[in-house]
Subunit: 246 residues, 2 copies
DNA sequence: GGAGCCCTTTGATCCACATCAATACCATTC
DNA sequence: GAATGGTATTGATGTGGATCAAAGGGCTCC
């Protein structure tokens, strides 16, 4: 490969700039002042594009960086030797992937793109270094890790104590809330994952997920057309969660 | 209350000393050099005794400190408005409680002592401050948070994809491993929690837990006498987990 | 050391979700 | 625009664990 031109060109590999990113309120830069965001920019490495169905990392891979989702979405899953697998989460823009790798210096789950996506690579040792200097960054990073723990507890509650329709209602309300936080409609959105993936996440079989969708539709709670969801009765879905006759 | 004596007395409130603590290999001081452990000692506040069944903190309480368990054990749980609850974890000596509170500055679960216990109170802002100065402490703290996330993923796998006996086998093997790490017998131990609490953690009813114990006993895998457990066939339990006919 | 209560075990029955199965639908790709 | 293969829906049947019920055992607290 030869570079004939001496004129400076914009490489496709544009340097990431947190300061320019419209996701910064959701992501690592939250709470930093402009000068601090610039410092973070120094640490954030190249962006990386991941095609649909491709792995960002795999269980067992060495851990070197965490990843902020700039575009697209992902799922994480854990696979047992006997082939059973469990989706442990779905991640959207502004959310951080890879925190599982810190503990053993190896990733303990797989991260797979649900659509063509792009992430910012944040080398972890450099992040730790900077967060020793920048208190607000340190604090925001700790909050992000803690949020992940709280989220996981919510999923444990869901898997351990809820019935199928409650699980799906909780899932839809959660998706709605996250789309809203990103400036999209709270009531109408496109799911990036299959029924099978939703089922794995919710501890249900895909048929059960499908039936629950149909039931919601019959009851006028949502309008479902494949992966396109329109929530018609948010309070109704919430009622399903709280008024449990048990 | 009056202090008549002018002679220095050992208060019951002895200052915690990580450097003297035999749990330091499991806890926050892991990987620190002696001088750094001394610095950590400065940050760790008083110890606090919690009687059996009492709360260390409650969901909704303001977050100010994390807690390292010095003696005894705890459970954490989440409670829904309708009364349903889910045990999200059991914690033993050397483990850290309270990480859930960082994200919103309020605790999002309850921490309850399973027996008379004692914790070291670690004011969080001081911990963050010190971990900005001490790289090894920063790193160990991040590992502890990450480990919690990985553990939660394991529980999600268990709740989402395993059958009752597999869940109990996984639970027993996990307990065994943690007792071992604390210098106790891998094969004989005393459970601090009830069948109901185990059930809640594993997403099962107490009757199902009891029946699974009975079945393990019939099959010669364990000897169960109430809360006293003797594991007779560790490989057998492991086989139950991996060789799933599905 | 006895009373009371919580915890545990075990049995009988029920039901929510899994499993098995068939068909329909949609998005690619050639 | 037909072929292909993954995805979704819906129905029929099966089953693991929940629920209901009762009795026994072991702590805890007087």
């Amino acid at each position: 490969m030869q570079m004939k031109s001496v004129v400076p060109v914009m490489t496709t590999e544009t340097k990431t700039a947190c300061s320019q990113c419209n996701l910064r309120e959701l992501c690592l830069p939250f709470g930093l002042d402009p000068r601090e965001v610039d410092q973070l920019d120094e640490v954030v490495g190249a962006r990386r594009k991941i095609k649909r169905q491709q792995h960002l990392y795999r269980s067992g891979d060495g851990f070197e960086a965490i990843y902020a989702i700039r575009a697209g979405s992902f799922k994480t899953d854990v696979i047992l030797e006997d082939g059973r697998d469990q989706v442990t989460g779905f991640q959207m823009t502004g959310e951080v992937l890879g925190l599982d790798g810190i503990s053993t210096e190896r990733h303990s789950c797989n991260a797979i793109a649900l659509e063509d996506s792009e992430v910012c690579v944040i080398p972890f040792s450099r992040l730790e270094e900077l967060s020793r200097q920048v208190e607000s960054l340190q604090h925001q990073f700790h909050k992000i890790m803690s949020r992940e723990i709280v989220r996981d507890h919510g999923v444990m509650m869901l898997l351990g104590s809820m019935r199928a329709e409650e699980r799906l209602a909780a899932f839809l309300l959660n998706m709605s809330q996250r789309f809203t936080a990103r400036g999209f409609s709270p009531s109408e959105f496109h799911l990036r994952m299959t029924r099978d993936e939703i089922g794995s996440y919710l501890g249900l079989k895909l048929e059960t997920v499908s039936r629950a969708f149909s039931r919601f539709q019959e009851e006028g709670l949502v309008a479902v057309q494949q992966k396109h969801i329109r929530i018609l009765d948010t309070p109704g879905l919430k009622r399903l969660l709280n008024h449990h006759a048990a």
